[in-house]
Symmetry: C2
Subunit: 381 residues, 2 copies
């Protein structure tokens, strides 16, 4: 007799979809992908792939009809399309009412203010003169400017020191959000997962180290983080997940300020780079828990399996043949976990990550750093 | 610039191919599957699937031409076809010279005798009278009879108590091997992986508990196994891998005798049910290490991540909708690891397995037992 497992539809063919599929294989669920091209990272490893444009509502509708639930590799699907799918009776998780907070930074800031979540000082600004006014209202320049939609990995973000530098963000015709430049000690991320039933789990709060606006290293748990600040960060993320009606994985990127507070920087409603460590480091990975959440299954144990886990992203460099670098990396460190995305190497592009774990943080960190640098080709031994 | 990752061709679409693909996604290697049907377990989750008959040499050759290395989900590919592929210049791993020992129990016993590996008393028998003679040469009936090719999971194996019962095995026209019925305490398995370079790793020796000739439970490591016997079993497996020229994963199924010896029961040259625990319980899974071996990459750390890991197979029962059983199982045990194969439920068929791990063996074992029984439908709470 046929086992009746649900069909999960994933919109977007990037590495998050690829790794969610990997996590879904043991669950036995059926996985359908809507991908821009047949060469996308996830399309290379999934049996049931529709090639099409998620911005086209007819394409999206036809794809969703074959699915029990639709979820996302990215936040770029137009909010109105998501409402249309819901009107068609499709389970969209996270739903548009939640997802809009990860799509539109203006909406996100307004909502976080309303529910009392601490954020950097901010407001929507109209033009460079208004930026100057925003600076004057607080502690002056520099000011951070963000287009409210469309940014990621440092794109759509400007740090400006004068009104004269503030012209660029307004050129796209998208509303611009001004934020104080927070004097932070470091960046943290609180990852939580929430199901339609309202069950939620919180992963340990991690430290996230950015280089040139792109995540470079994640250390789980964040070293030396005070217990009360850790609990506060987890509680903030759980509150946001509940108040915004998030279903699935929610990453809350945070600033730890010099005066011992946490402020919300960004939200992502999908598996997130700051949670990749969970694949090898936690009892249940963020990808498995995201799937369990969107399927309204009981969530898995988010606890770490060892004292320290470190993830370092592998960016493309000048060295195209990363596979040949496996020999050295695997021979040097038999416990190294390599995760490649099947993407062409382009300078600065995230093409994979490595994870290490163990009892001694400096050693665990050195192993991951070495492997990522060797794969990228910035070191030769 | 394009990353040049190798293409692995997997012959056979069963759950071992499915789980090898799962382990291959992080490696970034390309995976091609030759499957009997588009519905096979592995075909459901792999992008590049050729549907065809591995017994047809032209089909096999056409499939292999697109691969850098060909490996197997099962041992049923005719040995002469494998020689033909090698003559075509294809890397076949394990190669036919090795694989024949897992295909033909007569060849296997002769070779193990020649290299001094302890086996049950055995010889090829011609007919029921010869079975009586074999019994008389040793300690009498019962005697175990096996067709030298084609058996698995208890099929092709008979335990007979008299010459009158010994007629069936000879009907297939395949040579029949007689073996003494070993007075064993329990069954063990020694899993090792070997690369073309000759590097090898040994997993902890496990206890394997069979029910009706089918593997039911695997406990890693084998509880209370004497250190010297454990080392002897690992050494036997490493010796067999080397002497037979195995590339990839080798499972050596063993009897632990009442008088404190280990005797080789069966060999399998592929990831094996007795190694499924490594997915969640070891630093590197048998599937990842099999791939690394056939690609001649350095092997991964085979060590366990915690004191005890228990795997229990999920067999099909009268209860077809295993998915609905997830609710109870996941809510009861958030750390439970479920692995389903996407197969239709048929009574007695292996359709998945569950894995648990921890510090307390009785508790770890109870959790896995409960989940497997609940999924099968033999318990309701």
């Amino acid at each position: 007799m046929r086992v009746t497992f649900p069909v999960v539809g994933m919109v977007g063919g990037g590495q998050l979809a690829r790794m969610t599929h990997e996590a879904g294989i043991p669950l036995g669920v059926r996985f359908k992908l809507l991908s821009d091209t047949p060469q996308d990272s996830a399309a290379q490893v999934i049996a049931d792939v529709t090639v099409g444009d998620y911005r086209d509502l007819d394409t999206l509708r036809a794809f969703a009809r074959g699915c029990d639930v639709v979820t996302f590799d990215h936040e770029h699907v137009p909010t109105e399309h998501l409402h249309a799918l819901e009107a068609d009776g499709i389970a969209v998780r996270p739903g548009p009412e939640a997802l809009v907070h990860a799509q539109d930074k203006g909406v996100m800031r307004a909502k976080l203010d309303a529910i009392g979540v601490p954020c950097p000082r901010h407001r929507i600004v109209r033009d460079p003169d208004d930026v100057a006014a925003f600076a004057a209202e607080g502690s002056g320049f520099p000011v951070v400017l963000k287009t409210v939609r469309g940014g990621y990995d440092g794109k759509g973000v400007w740090v400006v020191s004068s009104p004269a530098e503030a012209a660029d963000p307004f050129r796209a015709g998208v509303p611009v959000l001004a934020e104080e430049k927070v004097d932070f000690v470091r960046e943290l991320a609180a990852n939580v997962v929430r199901s339609p039933h309202g069950q939620a789990v919180a992963y340990p709060v991690v430290e996230s180290i950015q280089v040139d606006g792109v995540c470079d290293t994640v250390i789980a748990p964040a070293p030396g983080l005070a217990d009360e600040l850790s609990a506060q960060a987890q509680q903030l993320a759980l509150t946001i997940a509940k108040e915004l009606g998030v279903v699935g994985h929610l990453a809350v990127e945070l600033f730890e300020t010099r005066d011992g507070r946490v402020l919300v920087n960004e939200l992502a409603m999908r598996p997130h780079n700051s949670g990749h460590w969970t694949q090898d480091g936690a009892v249940t990975s963020q990808f498995a828990n995201h799937l369990r959440a969107v399927l309204d299954l009981p969530l898995g144990d988010p606890r770490p399996r060892q004292p320290w886990t470190v993830m370092v992203n592998v960016l493309g460099g000048d060295f195209p043949d990363m596979y040949s670098a496996y020999l050295h990396c695997m021979a040097r460190d038999p416990a190294l976990k390599i995760h490649m995305y099947g993407k062409d190497v382009k300078p600065g592009r995230k093409v994979g990550h490595v994870t290490t774990y163990g009892d001694d943080l400096p050693e665990v960190r050195e192993r991951a750093r070495h492997a990522a640098d060797y794969l990228r080709g910035t070191i030769q031994e």
